[in-house]
Subunit: 261 residues, 3 copies
């Protein structure tokens, strides 16, 4: 049952190590606390592996990348693989520079990932090695095919978030409905979904974790948007999204509609 | 017409590359999304120029500086100049250390800037090479003269924000009224104005962009302050400011009073 | 009188230099502004000592540590000691890596600290050199003893925050009541207390500063929690906490109960 994914996550109270960008780190940390997990942000190679060893999941986020942070990601990732901890990878803006493409390639080739959470353009970039710029008018069917292909190639569950979310392990594929387009006006809504997937992956099998996290964010975006008053805009939505995760009950996940593709 | 500056910015949906401090990066990103632009934060020399090339404006913010970030600013700035993209420079705390003074000098001498957004003390430091400490009781007339001089020297539009804002290209000078002194209790209100100026500069001539961004922030600060209830303080104001940008209509800019000096 | 600690802090309007993690830097800056102080965040060795010299207090926070930031902490710390400025040290997650333990040791041995603000696990780690993991079911009596011991060893006032706070200079010890357990769902509530202690230490003797800051945060957490409506969770609490600091009146500190142990 989908609602059990949240129940298990809350019961496990996982420590989640995030090596993440400085733009949305605060939101990711607050999101993790809101869902019942605890964040540890640590991005120096000197301590990355040791911190990971004490955690139950690892989230690698490619925003504001640097050689130092990439080195920390690889060190932490190898340790997580050695210990069997799930790794969530968020290839933020991967198509926007050669450095991000190379960093993603290094992470994909050196690490066994549990979940890859990205938007359609980023998944296109990972699949095709090409820049997935904002201008690309992503074809919804192409995204399903690319998400499946990426999942098969990497043996990870792929979560492609957008107007609807695709969640697939390469075989089974789900389409998740809900959410609200206004979440695009919040920086880091995607990063937060990846962080949440990390928490869920610490307490659930990969496909259930990914589906549970995607459904939770879709539902919380609806709850948050429904709270908005006439003078309230994107900053209020940002707070309400984390509030919604904080107050989310397992049974609320039943309200999320998803199809098997 | 001033209101057209916002209309054009929203229509252009510019990608704005910010090389900025880690304290207010999240607010700047959310501000840019709220105004209809999209932020890309990337501060490593390995990708800075490439990221800039895919954007329509560049914002260089001197907060929490480091040699690495300065190198990225120079690389991105040269690329922006080569491509004719507008650069906004925010010399945060420039008078507070020799390193910041040298970094600002390097940026001013190597790059053609479109807009410089600063407070009176920072503009004094840029003009006179002296520390502009908080204690300096800045003379309002002196600020106008220094803003004009800096604009002439750099060929950039200067926006000097404070109780009233000065916007000048060295010839024409405007004084913008409005805002609310309580915005001084929010970290990064200045950084956000600079980010907004970057978005406006991607879609408007420099002087109009600067004036439009200054007026927008003045108006939004008023709107935000007017929403404050009796138990609400600076954190609420911070959210309401971004909410106001999100909901700002072009015609709201007509309510901002400004004089030509 | 305890209420005078806030009055003096507001009157002094201290500049507080924070060398701090990128996760909660924005909250700490906004908290400092809310209490009447001004933050300067600067973490590069090239300018750290110079920035400190222009401030009235220094806050060293061990979150997201790096060799570069540690170097900046040592340089700034030596300058603060030379000038007699108070230093607040927050050993975030000190037990979670060898690097953090070594960094803390270096700071403790090279610098004279004014206040150490930490949780019980971190104080245990500093006292015993052992990892203070979340699992440790900290004994309340042990925390008092360890806080006293650490205060005596370092000649700093120790503030051990938790369900109740302990404030001690090694001789006198106070237990502060109040607050709300839900503040554990906000990242950086501890960091904010440390930043506040920095502001108070700029204007008050160490023990009074520490007790005043602890009482102020306890009271503000209560005020913030009391404002929460039925749909409001941890993100609202985070804003309300800073709002409460912004609106806190000196006489509100009289409502905080504390015992001498």
């Amino acid at each position: 049952m989908l609602k059990d994914t949240l129940t298990r996550t809350r019961a496990a109270r996982p420590l989640v190590h995030c090596i993440t960008n400085f733009v949305t780190a605060n939101d990711c940390a607050n999101l993790l606390l809101a869902c019942g997990a605890s964040p540890i942000m640590a991005d120096d190679p000197l301590e990355a592996a040791e911190i990971t060893a004490a955690c139950q999941a690892l989230v690698l986020n490619l925003g504001t990348p640097s050689p130092r942070r990439l080195e920390a990601m690889l060190a932490a990732g190898r340790e997580a693989n050695r210990l069997g901890h799930p790794i969530v990878f968020d290839p933020v803006g991967v198509g926007s520079s050669g450095f991000r493409m190379e960093a993603a390639s290094a992470l994909l080739s050196e690490l066994r990932l549990c979940i890859i959470r990205a938007n359609a353009g980023e998944i296109h970039s990972l699949c095709c090695g090409a820049a997935g710029t904002r201008g690309v008018d992503t074809d919804a069917e192409a995204s399903v095919a690319e998400s499946r292909a990426l999942a098969r190639e990497t043996d990870a569950v792929v979560v492609c978030t957008g107007e609807t979310d695709i969640v697939t392990d390469g075989q089974t594929a789900f389409r998740v409905y809900g959410g609200h387009p206004m979440t695009r006006l919040i920086t880091g809504a995607g990063c937060q979904t990846s962080a949440l997937a990390g928490a869920f992956a610490a307490a659930n099998p990969p496909l259930e974790a990914a589906l549970g996290a995607a459904c939770a964010m879709k539902r919380c975006a609806q709850i948050a948007h429904a709270r908005l008053g006439p003078q309230e805009g994107s900053a209020s939505l940002r707070s309400y999204l984390i509030d919604a995760v904080c107050l989310l009950r397992p049974q609320d996940l039943k309200d999320v509609r998803y199809d098997i593709l």
